[in-house]
């Protein structure tokens, strides 16, 4: 038997979008064990909550992650609204849903591109990002920001989308729908994609459940865990089913995300068709007093915002559990027994976002 060697992987590595460090214990080319370590981008954002007005903290909550920023602000606002017993107007709820789905589209397109890049499929990466650009344009036009929107506030949203603009957005989605379909077709059927991802990074349903996988990692292993089904924002009145694949490998996780693109387009269209007229915010009076666990579905999975307040304008404690931190134990499990050359693909398949995992 060959001797064991340890190969450091990351935090700086060509395929890694974010700094995670893995010590890979190898026997020849086979990974026996992977030891992860994080701690390169800690910013202490949770502590800042004690120094900021609870309404101003939305800006900071949004900047926890650069990709699923909008969902973070929804999660935080939802917690404060539940503590203060605020009734957010229906229109604001629908607008939040529309923007959440737009951010899911842009996050998944970004991930599909990065995943293609990790496999060495440069062309596919460019094509995914070209489509993503039209999504970002729609975001910038309606919210003012490409990835950090800044439109969600405690008690509602800051900007409204006119009905004419909503129609224009749906028409635009119809036209890029074809392009998304062509892109997904490559991920579904292309021989090189299949060759690089089928049977790679296996995570059985039992392991996924035991290790607490969330989001597309859980869905790719056959667990129908989708927090949108709890019906927060306007998801309760929209018709959708979580997408589940049972392949348990990198390919399944990729298929889940590709299929979620079509689902998001459909959800945006449903929301745009059913959006009621009315106010977009309620006046917030007083300070929050109490605690709440708010759970929202981010593109990467379930995100928890825990807020504890004592009636002053500064909040006592905020705790965020992001999907990437939940997906690191499953990642370690997936890496056991894989080939060294498959490590980049497997690491990418959980869509690691270390910036938000460390906050």
């Amino acid at each position: 038997m060959a001797g064991r060697i340890v190969v450091p992987f990351g935090p700086q590595h060509p395929v890694l979008p974010e700094p995670i460090h893995l010590d890979l214990v190898l026997e020849d080319e086979r990974v026996v064990e992977a030891i992860p370590s994080i701690g390169y981008v800690h910013r202490g954002l949770e502590k800042l909550v004690e120094k900021r007005d609870f309404k101003d903290f939305v800006y900071i909550a949004e900047r926890i992650c650069g990709i699923c920023s909008f969902t973070h602000s929804v999660g935080y606002c939802k917690a404060i609204e539940a503590i203060m017993d605020l009734q957010v107007p229906e229109r604001a709820q629908y607008l939040r849903t529309i923007w959440s789905e737009y951010s899911r589209l842009h996050s998944h397109l970004l991930w599909l591109g990065l995943y293609a890049d990790a496999m060495g499929f440069e062309n596919l990466f460019m094509n995914a990002w070209r489509i993503r650009e039209t999504i970002l344009d729609a975001m910038e036009e309606t919210t003012g920001g490409r990835v950090i929107q800044g439109v969600c506030k405690v008690g509602g949203v800051r900007r409204d989308i006119s009905d004419a603009k909503l129609k224009e957005m749906t028409a635009k989605l119809d036209s890029i729908g074809g392009e998304i379909e062509d892109l997904c077709h490559v991920f579904f059927d292309d021989a090189s994609v299949k060759h690089r991802s089928v049977g790679v990074g296996m995570l059985s349903k039992e392991d996924a459940h035991k290790l607490g996988a969330v989001g597309p990692v859980a869905k790719g292993s056959g667990i129908a865990l989708d927090l949108r089904q709890t019906g927060y924002s306007a998801y309760g009145s929209l018709d959708f089913k979580p997408i589940v694949e049972t392949g348990c490998d990198c390919y399944s996780r990729c298929i889940v995300r590709a299929k979620e693109l079509a689902q998001s387009v459909d959800l945006i269209k449903q929301a745009a068709a059913n959006i009621p007229a009315g106010d977009i915010e309620v006046k917030v009076r007083g300070n929050p007093d109490g605690e709440y666990f708010s759970r929202v579905e981010q593109p990467r999975g379930e995100c928890i915002h825990y807020v504890k307040a004592n009636g002053s304008k500064n909040i006592l404690r905020e705790r965020v559990r992001t999907p990437s931190s939940a997906n690191i134990p499953p990642l370690v499990k997936m890496l056991e027994g894989c080939q060294m050359a498959d490590v980049p693909v497997i690491v990418l398949s959980i869509d690691p976002c270390i910036g938000c995992a460390e906050r």
Partner: protein, 128 residues
């Protein structure tokens, strides 16, 4: 067939114009609601300091005695919080990004308010 699944996209891209812009030569995309740099109408400002108190990035400094309002352009995150909290509507957001700051240039923009006008002496005081 699996090997040629991108043919349609490749053919389409061959005949389409580039998806990118030749940026410095052509202007960048900009929308009406784009979040650009903050501007202030300093004559309306009463130097109350609400904007600086609510700034998530601590980019704004207000000095009531010297009547100055200054903003660090590199710290500002263009969130519009100062404009929302301004009681006098003195601060507003534009859709233009700030030009890059190179070494040797200052990143803090200072706006000087007009000195306080002295009250014109009343008729009684004149008589005295």
């Amino acid at each position: 067939m699996g090997l040629f699944s991108m043919t349609k996209t490749v053919l389409k891209s061959l005949f389409n114009k580039p998806a990118t812009i030749r940026y410095p030569a052509e202007p960048a995309k900009r929308f009406e609601g784009t979040r650009g740099q903050m501007e202030i109408d300093i004559d309306k400002c009463i130097f109350c300091g609400l904007c600086s108190k609510h700034c998530p990035a601590d980019a704004i400094t207000v000095n009531k005695n010297e009547r100055t309002w200054s903003i660090n352009r590199l710290w500002c995150i263009c969130c519009n919080s100062c404009a929302e909290n301004c009681n006098k509507d003195a601060i507003y957001q534009t859709n233009v990004y700030h030009a890059p700051i190179v070494a040797g240039e200052t990143d803090v923009d200072v706006y000087q308010g007009k000195p306080v006008e002295e009250k014109p002496a009343s008729a009684e005081e004149k008589a005295a």
